[in-house]
Amino acid sequence: MKNKSLGSKLLSAPYIVWAALFIIVPLIIMLYFALTNEAGVFTLANLSEIGKYKKAFGLSILYAAIATVITLLLAYPMAYFMTKLKISSQRMLLLIVMLPMWMNFLIRTYSWISILANTGIINTFLGKLGLGPVQLMYTPGAVILGMVYDFIPYMILPIYSVMSKLDKSLLEASEDLGANAFVKFKKVILPLTRPGIISGITMVFVPSVSTFYISQKLGGNKTMLIGDAIEYLFNLGVDYYNIASAISMVLMIMILVCLFVMNRFNDDDDGGVVI
């Protein structure tokens, strides 16, 4: 648009400065480290070392994908259910969905320990019934559960917001044209809520695939997700900044590719664009 006034440019200036300093500059630093060796000379050697971490990449993607599918299966019916309620009940439920997000993410993750532990709530209850204890903590299941729990609000909220704006007359029209419930869902509701699904998937998958805290606290440090590998390498000191940056770069590229593919599914440009 041509008529951008000086005023509106000035208004955006603080954020542009922020973004440049804290998004663009760090990205450039990461790229620099990823593509140089310890002496600062350009090299692709770091990228060839990444093969060692393919299992970590694989596990991260697998866990994040499972967590994303579970959140979607839980969140979609929930969002649909919410839109069917009175406005006041919707607000109430929305509040409940968001409530955990007001607590620190680390505390939320930590609280699962007291639920899943051998001496935790579930196993104590099983013990009373003469069962168990079952090793729940420090398993892949616990890690995935942690991801689902921590990120599910990011799935519910975008789907709910798209769904609540759904034009009821379209649903009525489909009914008038003889669509049954399944057809109505498949041909009308699902396509119209797709932008919400896509942005929900992104907002769950991206933080899940790069998490390291959840896997350490609930996984007992027994595996290394790619986020753990990056954290471990950075903590070892500057010797490993190059390889850690290279892994970060590859991870970012993979995420960007995922987002690009997702956006292809989202061809109607009605505000659900992910990036």
Partner: protein, 370 residues
């Protein structure tokens, strides 16, 4: 009349304020005689101390708050930060994000930091309490000329187990691999200590320069991984105290803290031997407040302060004023201060050649991804 009333009222207020000031800021513990030893010439400056977590008497449960006492005595503000491993400390110092004055790393890390020129020399003759340190801990391999470090704590690794669930236990590192204890045992979540458990079992040197020996240790650790509940560091406290895990190798001093909470916990030094360490206070070359750092290090050696720290931390003290103090909580404790004939064979960690260090740091990833 009015005036008099006003005066008596204001007098009353002043008395209240003054008494409040005294009650909140007055000397609670430290002997007044220390006032003569520590002047307030550096009042208002900041001293940044970087130490292990849970490694100073912090005033909880009626103990002495060491940093607070130092602040009161000298007027120096202590900016106290903690780390979880020598390696994290090293990378933070190397990054230079925060200007640390004092760091309290372990032996091998001190050796490395001296080699890399990161530590400033300490004139021990300027420390009036330096002579209190037992000769055994002076001039140890990493600082033979006593130029860079002042011993703060000493400790050895042993195995803690829950006597309520485990009656007879072999006093060996084997227990971490024993399938009898599947999902019950923990191991260290840092490469050096975890490798130690395997190396001692294989009878190899903890500071081996032979890559094959490190690979063999890694293989043994891989084999043991599925038997373990997990790898932890400070979380071991909660795990052992609540009975979440039954076996964990950790430091003798930490066992003494844990057993206070859970009296079922027992401890032994494995017969194959174990690792001994010294954590010592060092001043960084990049320190901005070196004079205050010297004051702080000397303060840590004060008999009352050192005893308070030794009581609180539960590690063995290198300070003779603590060891010989009959009021010291662990006076004569045989786990911290074993008799000569009960001493297991011990090995210090040394700073390892960079090639070997990289080798085991990367082998650790293989173990985790196994």
């Amino acid at each position: 009349m009015k005036n008099l009333k006003f005066r008596s009222l204001s007098l009353a207020i002043i008395v209240c304020i003054v008494s409040l000031l005294f009650s909140s800021c007055g000397y609670e513990y430290v002997d007044l005689e220390l006032r003569g030893k520590y002047d307030r010439s550096l009042e208002g400056t900041v001293l940044t101390v970087y130490n292990w977590g849970e490694y100073i008497s912090d005033g909880s449960d009626g103990t002495i708050d060491v940093n607070r006492e130092f602040e009161k005595l000298t007027g120096i503000k202590v900016n106290y930060l903690t780390f979880e491993s020598n390696e994290t400390m090293f990378s933070q110092v190397e990054n230079g994000g925060v200007n640390y004055d004092i760091v309290i790393p372990s032996d091998y890390m001190i050796q490395r930091m001296i080699k890399e020129g990161m530590l400033d020399e300490i004139d021990t003759t300027a420390l009036s309490n330096y002579d209190l340190i037992a000769d055994d801990y002076k001039g140890v391999y990493f600082d033979p000329e006593e130029k860079y470090s002042v011993p703060f704590n000493v400790g050895m690794v042993g195995i803690i187990y829950n006597g309520k669930y485990i009656k007879d236990i072999e006093h060996s590192w084997n227990v971490l691999w024993d399938e009898k204890y599947k999902d019950m045992a923990l191991n260290f979540n840092n490469p050096r200590d975890a490798f130690m458990t395997a190396q001692i079992l294989q009878g190899t040197d903890l500071n081996s320069t032979n890559e094959k020996e490190w690979e063999a240790a890694a293989e043994l650790l891989k084999k043991g991984k599925k038997n373990l509940q997990g790898y932890v560091m400070d979380e071991v406290y909660g795990k052992m105290e609540t009975g979440e895990a039954y076996i964990a190798p950790y430091y003798a001093g930490d066992y003494l803290t844990m057993v206070e909470t859970n009296p079922d916990l027992k401890f032994f030094y494995p017969k194959e031997g174990t690792n001994i360490f010294i954590d010592s206070a060092c001043i960084l070359k990049s320190a901005e407040n070196k004079a205050a750092a010297m004051m702080y290090i000397n303060f840590l050696l004060e008999p009352d302060i050192a005893t308070a720290n030794a009581d609180y931390i539960g590690y063995a003290s290198p300070n003779t004023a603590v060891i010989n103090n009959k009021d010291y909580y662990y006076y004569g404790n045989e786990i911290l201060y074993p008799k000569k004939e009960d001493m297991p064979p011990v090995q210090y960690y040394h700073d390892i050649d960079e090639k070997i260090r990289r080798k085991y740091e990367l082998l650790w990833i293989d173990i985790k991804l196994y």
